[in-house]
């Protein structure tokens, strides 16, 4: 029983990180109908910035600063590589973001250097005893951070007209323009938000562990998460992230070595879960059904 609860808690911790990662993808998708494959690079850039900033200004100042810096980087990329493509097919833009990812990651890798780096988070590997159950502090921190950021984002989309403008621009850029929405600003805001989120998510992904060039791979888990939750759904990203985190942790705990599946099955569970859910719900759990009528 303790084991079950502990693995659920761990799952929620990693799931929160996935949720944060997924939110970045969803925000960009909502505004621009593009899946930005540059998110992994932004995440890595953000984490690496944190590793450099923490010794200078401390962890608590480093994270917001790094988020800001990554947001600016994302803004720059959006301006130079994505903005000229407004109105082009989403897939072409997606491939452009892949090019961005490759290029940015090389630069970031150079900053990682030859050593392993650390974000210098205050939690390390310490645990918190909740009765007989132990939970790692970093997991708790990830859950709390995700909850706060998600609440903030929901408020943003619900109570600001920018939120509505973003959705409108995603659906029909010309019509949005015609009603005074500055599509450029919408793009910029969404990329900046996503960049900042990526930095925060990356920090939590690296908390209690180390930063090396392979860390970006964790961002790919966001892909099955957003499909699972529904590409354009913020709640979907959160619930999908948590579901994937928990399931992965449960599989790792109880069924990692299924003989006929080979070892480390938990690595592919997000994709299997995604496939199963999509067979039942083609637009994920919460995705908006595309309106199709003749």
């Amino acid at each position: 029983m303790t084991e079950l609860i502990e693995s659920l808690l761990r799952g929620l911790g990693t799931g929160s990180v996935y949720a944060l990662l997924a939110l970045g993808f969803v925000i960009i998708y909502k505004a621009t109908r593009v899946i930005s494959f540059a998110q992994p690079a932004f995440m890595l850039a953000g984490v690496v910035a944190v590793t450099y900033l923490t010794p200078a200004v401390g962890f608590w100042a480093a994270v917001p600063l790094a988020a800001l810096g990554t947001a600016l980087l994302a803004l720059g990329v959006e301006r130079t590589a994505v903005r000229p493509m407004v109105g082009r097919p989403a897939f072409v833009v997606a491939i452009i973001t892949l090019g961005v990812d490759v290029a940015v990651r090389v630069v970031v890798n150079a900053f990682i250097g030859l050593d392993v780096r650390h974000v210098g988070d205050p939690w390390g590997l310490r645990t918190l005893a909740l009765g007989p159950v132990e939970m790692q502090q970093r997991h708790l921190a990830a859950v709390v951070a995700a909850a706060l950021l998600v609440a903030g984002l929901f408020a943003f989309f619900r109570f600001t007209r920018t939120g509505l403008a973003m959705r409108a621009a995603a659906l029909d850029q010309e019509a949005a323009l015609a009603h005074g929405v500055s599509v450029g600003a919408v793009f910029a805001v969404s990329w900046a938000l996503a960049g900042g989120l990526a930095a925060v998510a990356g920090t939590f992904a690296a908390a209690g562990a180390s930063v090396d060039t392979a860390l970006w791979l964790i961002a790919l888990t966001a892909l099955p998460v957003i499909i699972l939750g529904g590409l354009d759904s913020l709640p979907g990203a959160v619930i999908g992230g948590l579901a994937v985190g928990v399931l992965q942790e449960l599989v790792a705990t109880y069924a990692n070595d299924v003989a006929w599946l080979g070892g480390n099955v938990s690595v592919i569970t997000p994709y299997v879960l995604m496939l199963v859910v999509l067979l039942v719900r083609p637009y994920g759990l919460f995705g908006t059904r595309e309106v199709e009528r003749v």
């Binding site: 082009r88 890798n109 099955v265 995604m274 067979l279 637009y283």
Partner: protein, 366 residues
């Protein structure tokens, strides 16, 4: 729109692939040049071009399902992998470390690789009938991850992660196809072989594209509800699209690694899928020649960036210094793709159309 009007006296003439003398001339010239290349280039370039030809076969396949039928698939690497392993297992050494059946004849393993991959494609197709757009793209991406897991784990077939296995052997009627002898080097022969195969596959794809099936593909892509209403059986044609595309991928996968002779499961990653999507997009989605051009471009790009970096000044050649040529090489790869797509979103094919209209309209604008 179409250049000088030509007098045609039958529909057959009009339906011909090369319907103008200019097209026939160009094609003949290009073909002669392609066949003569081995006498002009060094072996390492020929080998690279052989890889280009094979990649082009794979890209044509992806072009059919993605460019023509509009079903964006990021799962091409998976089908390439299936083809590669089918062929390698069939033609492998029965006494080797990994599965091998000793069927070394290309006439057997090549179609077999295509067919096995096609069957996998047919199994995946039902997903395509349920999902749209990016959902399908990411789900097929999931195939790549799941496929990679299987390839990594099934080490009796694949050699396992980080190990790899020998690729299929190039033999025809008991005679090895690619060995150096007095007539030609291995790489020259390899190039010719792959070129001929490319021509065959490209021609077949071109035929398919202009047939009722190709038209149905485009109809599904442009407007699937309308396509259904005018009589196109959507699930069936999506299945055909996936099957044909996977067949091409399977064959390409089988051939791809015969050039190097060795491959590992790590090859069939997201990156490979992405490269193929990039080929189709950069070439210009929805054309066969575009897919071929894109395949050549993407395959030659790393080589190009290695040559290019010599011209970038003040860059260190020491891997420990930043920035160094190796980083520049990779960055260039990314940046060239970006620049290219921004500059010409319709791809190489669009570039060609642009050039053609420019010269036709010259010296009059408007």
């Amino acid at each position: 729109m179409r250049g000088r009007p030509l007098l045609r006296t039958s529909y057959a003439e009009e339906l011909a692939l090369l319907d103008t003398p200019a097209k026939r001339g160009w094609t003949a010239a290009l073909l002669v040049l392609a066949l003569a290349l081995p006498f002009l280039l060094t072996d390492d370039l020929l080998q690279l071009l052989a890889v280009c030809c094979v990649a082009a076969i794979g890209a044509i396949g992806l072009g059919l399902v993605t460019g023509y039928a509009g079903q964006v698939s990021l799962g091409h690497a998976f089908f390439l992998g299936i083809g590669a392993y089918t062929a390698a297992a069939l033609s492998g050494d029965p006494d080797g470390r990994v599965i091998g059946l000793g069927v070394t004849d290309i006439a057997l393993w090549l179609p077999a690789a295509g067919l096995v991959a096609a069957v996998a494609g047919v199994l995946v197709a039902p997903l395509a009938t349920r999902l749209r757009g990016l959902y399908l793209a990411i789900v097929t991406l999931g195939l790549v991850f799941i496929g990679q897991h299987i390839f990594n784990e099934w080490s009796s077939l694949t050699g396992g992660a980080g190990v790899g296995r020998p690729a299929a052997t190039l033999e025809f009627l008991g005679r090895p196809l690619a060995v150096t002898d007095e007539i030609a080097t291995r790489d020259q022969k390899l190039y010719w072989l792959m070129l001929v195969l490319l021509l065959v596959f490209a021609l077949a794809a071109r035929n398919l594209a202009r047939s009722r099936i190709g038209r149905a593909f485009t109809a599904i892509r442009d407007r699937d509800i309308a396509a259904g209403v005018i009589g196109v059986n959507l699930p069936r044609y999506k299945t055909i699209a996936f099957a044909v595309s996977s067949f091409y991928a399977g064959c390409a996968g089988a051939l791809l690694y015969t050039v190097t002779g060795f491959f590992d499961p790590g090859s069939f990653s997201l990156l490979l899928s992405v490269q193929y999507i990039a080929m189709v997009l950069i070439g210009g989605a929805g054309t066969i020649s575009g897919a071929i051009a894109g395949a050549f471009f993407i395959t030659l790009l790393p080589r190009l960036t290695r040559e290019l970096q010599a011209w970038v000044p003040f860059i260190s050649t020491q891997p420990n210094e930043v920035p160094n040529v190796f980083q520049v090489e990779t960055i260039l790869y990314g940046v060239l793709i970006i620049v290219f797509l921004i500059f010409e979103p319709r791809g190489l094919f669009g570039l060609w159309i642009r050039a053609r209209t420019y010269w036709k309209a010259w010296p009059f604008s408007y």
